[in-house]
Symmetry: C2
Subunit: 199 residues, 2 copies
DNA sequence: CTCCCGACTAGACCTGTGTATAGTAAAAAC
DNA sequence: GTTTTTACTATACACAGGTCTAGTCGGGAG
């Protein structure tokens, strides 16, 4: 439920966004109704009017399909500080959305983290960069992943070794972390698929 | 004239793309007609049908605004090899288009260059990175710019000094270039505004 | 208990819009 | 010189689709 919307209104808004980015044009009132099984266009129209009054959409009266979702929640969310146990990928928590095509970095669910510090400088990732990650719980050897350590998220290269798991830093001044078999395995939030830097 | 389209058809296609990305929904046949001053919707409809037959659009019969531009020419063009004297920013020359919002890196006309080699490694720009540049002919001191030297485009930091212009590399093994007042000033194609890396 | 609001159904009105028929005129192709 | 293509005008039709009136039902607030 996004900011004062009812559950149904959220669903309708989400459908409209999905439909639009899938088809290239917004749905009609009746197409919305059909999607939810409404037997009257009035039901869909009511929800859309509510969404408009609440500022989530804009539409031109009388014009078919002439509607625009305003603060789109499509795009890759840039997540800020993340606390352990919190719903990591709650889009609502996003401080910002990156305006690029949903499939820009391939298939899957993505999020971005703003890099603080120079711990991955060896991989040419520097302060302020936005690292793009595909949300997944596993990482293959050698992949750079966002790892939850305590209540901090850090970016590390995951390298399984003989004595356990190595979380390798790409900066000689930042020590790598070695986890033995007795240690609790770290929670992986996503693996790095790209990087965006805005000067 | 893009690939077998008449001049008018190109204009119509461009208008449809602009309208759609500006409004969030495609124009009607009559809105296209109005834009070009056609006094009959038939004229616009004919062009749109031609565009559809040629594979540049798709539309659902009878449905208002239900049209989709297929291979969109919106986005930031990734330019490959560029020869001197050629129309540098001809979108048609693009090997690829980056699917991000036109305003992602701000206002202006943008293009991207794929980085070859490690000449800017000191600025954490590495092989394969896509450097995003705003198309402009001037660079301020300290900005990284795409510079045309002979028939090669290189990425250099532009630093005006006492004896002339320095095109500074960010790699100790790649020498910087110094241009005196007697040298022809280099042609600047654009200044760097960002970077996109896909793993 | 009553009132209000969210979430719908049923049915209808009417206009915006895709699309058709019938032409005109000029340029390009054959 | 004739045909084809491009680029339009003028008019009209039918229906998709926005929007209206009138109502039902349930849940939560006062």
């Amino acid at each position: 439920m996004t900011r004062g919307l009812t559950a149904r209104q959220t669903q309708v808004l989400e459908f409209i966004e999905e439909f639009t980015s899938g088809h290239g044009y917004p749905p009609t009132v009746r197409e919305v109704a059909a999607n939810f099984g409404f037997r009257s266009p009035r039901a869909a129209h009511d929800h859309m009017k509510a969404l408009e009054k609440k500022g989530f959409m804009r539409s031109r009266a009388g014009r078919p399909r002439a509607l625009e979702v305003l603060h789109s929640r499509r795009g890759i969310p840039v997540l800020g500080k993340i606390a352990a146990g919190q719903p990591i990928l709650a889009v609502e928590e996003a401080e910002e959305l990156l305006g690029l095509e949903p499939t820009f970095f391939g298939q899957g669910r993505f999020f971005a983290l703003r890099v603080r510090g120079e711990s991955m400088i060896g991989d040419h990732i520097t302060e302020g960069d936005l690292v793009i990650l595909r949300a997944q719980e596993e990482a293959r050897s050698g992949e750079v992943a966002a790892v939850l350590l305590g209540d901090e998220v850090t970016l590390k290269r995951v390298v399984p070794g003989k004595q356990g798991l190595e979380l390798r830093s790409a900066n000689p001044t930042v020590p790598s972390i070695f986890l033995g078999p007795q240690d609790e395995p770290p929670r992986i939030l996503g693996v790095m698929v790209g990087l965006v830097r805005k000067n």
